[in-house]
Symmetry: C2
Subunit: 137 residues, 2 copies
DNA sequence: CTTGACCCTGTAGTTGCTACAGGGTGCATA
DNA sequence: TATGCACCCTGTAGCAACTACAGGGTCAAG
């Protein structure tokens, strides 16, 4: 499989694939006579793992740890659970923040009376933090 | 006011203040004899506006537009409302994505039976996208 | 034998900061 | 007067996680 095929097969940008190789997430594949990268099924599986993890919001370093575990099936797997659990907590925190943000924005918006910026509620609210309820960050 | 004071007054990192000046979000302040930046109340207000906007998740370019409107009170303010509304939509979309993500993660996690990585549900699920319900991204 | 799609390396850009290195300023204290 | 210390200056490089070239090489079809 050439890199373009792998790209299409996994929905990953070609540049991204080469980037993953450079940072050591993907192993260096064999090369053809013309110096083209040549991938097999194992590469596709591994890249899919990486992409899926990234879509779920794991950082590259977390993906590295998860891959490391996947590569060593004889190890304890608690680490994977720990990484995922910590990540879940972060996602939940982020959701909370965004909900606060959404409420703040909703409160600010929609009061445009089509007038001049001088009377704009949005601009006014942005300048004056004390008008806020929630503590965004 | 010296930069350190402005930093404390607005809860903004000194490097960040200088960065905002460099990219033109804050005007260049007057300088003292010793070449120290010297800020006034107007600078503090403007920086507070910027920080507040950033905390609400507006991009630098959006902040630039909003500042531009704030600087021209004779203009129509609909643009501000438009920017904020678009941003609200983005925030709502992001919340939706994260909720999907959270559900996905919850489903994956917590099935660790303390065994070996070979049997790990987390790693298994990461490798196999077809186990997912939602369409994260 | 040339066209076009594909691939290669290497480097620089993106966003929004943050972190130095290597120096200067200004005020209090010994 | 010296010196210590907190603070400030410029300029550049780093972070995450890619993305986007520039400037070239490969390969199959027509």
């Amino acid at each position: 499989m050439k890199i373009g095929e792998l790209s299409r097969a996994t929905g990953t940008n070609i540049e991204t694939i080469r980037y993953y190789e450079r940072i050591g997430l993907l192993p260096e594949p064999a090369r053809t006579a013309g110096n083209y990268r040549s991938y097999g099924e194992a590469h596709r599986t591994r890249l899919a793992f990486v992409r899926h993890s990234r879509e779920l919001g794991f950082t590259i370093e977390e993906v590295r740890s998860l891959l490391d575990l996947a590569d060593h099936p004889e190890r304890e797997c608690c680490e994977a659970d720990r990484i995922a659990t910590r990540h879940l907590a972060q996602v939940e925190e982020k959701i909370g923040q965004l909900v606060t943000l959404r409420d703040e924005l909703s409160r600010i918006i929609g009061r445009c009376r089509g007038g001049l910026a001088a009377d704009c509620r949005v601009i006014e609210a942005l300048g004056d933090h004390t008008m806020c309820n929630g503590d965004h960050e």
